[in-house]
């Protein structure tokens, strides 16, 4: 959203605008995609939060960690049990670091976006949908590598009568291809809609409360409503990261074990 004229109306979408802090200028080929933007800054902030929560809390490497480490161990344990429960079998351990990385990155990025005047990393369509497409592509390639052409037996549900099979295979194929974008679009739509809703409501309440003293006192009622929506957004931020992790496990299980 390039705003060249300094217009009076600020759009509620300005919170998602990406600004360039240190531009990357190159002579022959346009490499301005490597410049340091708000996106890079916030990924560095997410990295420092994750590293800080893991490295500063481990009580100098003793076996019994500090009380802050209990939270990290709880998250590790939850994801471990979830992955072991979903991708049960011989090879769940290969995929646990990947699922944990996805979970902790999206969890931290979502919670950092709840700070006022912050930036929502996971609300960018290109980033999240390309990530989910790559995960889907990786799962498909894993399936073909393991099973060869027998991978296509994934699209035939067990126990269907033979005349119905072509129609069902087409529907299952479409549903399988839709997984690539739906995984990313789910996270992105939730975070974008939540943040947009909060900013629009907060702007309207600010307009209401700045009229006179009576609306200032009355304005605490819609403010309580915004507080309820804020709590919902915190819950959604955490739940959506868990849903991403569990759906990635489910897609990997389909590719590895074919029903």
């Amino acid at each position: 959203m390039l705003n060249l004229l300094n217009t009076y109306i600020n759009s509620p979408l300005d919170q998602f605008e990406i600004r360039v802090f240190l531009g990357f200028v190159s002579p022959f080929y346009d490499l301005s995609c490597l410049s340091f933007t708000t996106f890079s800054l916030y990924t560095l902030i997410v990295l420092s939060v994750i590293l800080g929560l893991n490295l500063l809390t481990n009580n100098n490497g003793k076996i019994v960690g500090s009380r802050w480490l209990v939270s990290q161990e709880a998250i590790y344990d939850t994801i471990l049990n979830m992955v072991k429960g979903q991708i049960s079998g011989k090879s769940w351990g290969y995929y646990f670091p990947l699922i944990y990385t996805f979970f902790i990155f999206i969890f931290t990025a979502n919670l950092i976006s709840m700070i006022p005047y912050s930036f929502a990393l996971t609300s960018h369509l290109v980033f999240i949908v390309s990530l989910s497409t790559i995960i889907w592509l990786g799962a498909t390639i894993t399936g073909f590598y393991r099973h060869g052409l027998v991978f296509f037996s994934l699209f035939v549900p067990t126990g269907t009568p033979l005349p119905l099979v072509p129609l069902l295979v087409l529907i299952e194929l479409l549903s399988y291809i839709a997984r690539a974008i739906s995984l990313g679009l789910r996270l992105m739509a939730n975070i974008l809609a939540g943040h947009l809703l909060m900013i629009i409501l907060a702007g309207l309440t600010l307009n209401l409360m700045s009229i006179n003293i009576f609306t200032l006192v009355f304005g605490f009622v819609p403010l309580a409503g915004i507080l309820a929506i804020l709590c919902l957004e915190f819950a959604i931020a955490m739940i959506q990261s868990y849903v991403w992790a569990i759906l990635t496990c489910s897609y990997l299980k389909d590719s590895l074990y074919l029903h």
């Binding site: 759009s11 979408l13 739906s182 679009l185 789910r186 739509a189 939730n190 974008l192 809609a193 947009l196 959604i236 739940i239 959506q240 868990y242 849903v243 569990i246």
Partner: protein, 76 residues
């Protein structure tokens, strides 16, 4: 051009009707959770993660519809 802009705004309003499905879907998921826990209260810790997963998936389809609305409102 003004007609296209007006039509975009009308379309953005009409496309939010899809969130009706999201609301009903979430209510069905949690009604099933309440039903299941009331029949067998010891299954609360087993059923609750499924309920959260169902809530998130059901809300996602509603928000796909809201995304169309945002595209119409704010897309260039």
């Amino acid at each position: 051009m003004q007609l296209v802009l007006a039509a975009k705004y009308i379309g953005a309003g009409i496309s939010t009707i899809g969130l009706l499905g999201a609301g009903i879907g979430i209510a069905i998921v949690f009604a099933a959770l309440i039903n299941g826990v009331s029949r067998n209260p010891s299954l609360k810790d087993t059923l609750f993660p499924f309920a959260i997963l169902g809530f998130a998936l059901s809300e996602a389809t509603g928000l796909f519809c809201l995304m169309i609305s945002f595209l119409l409102l704010y897309g260039s």
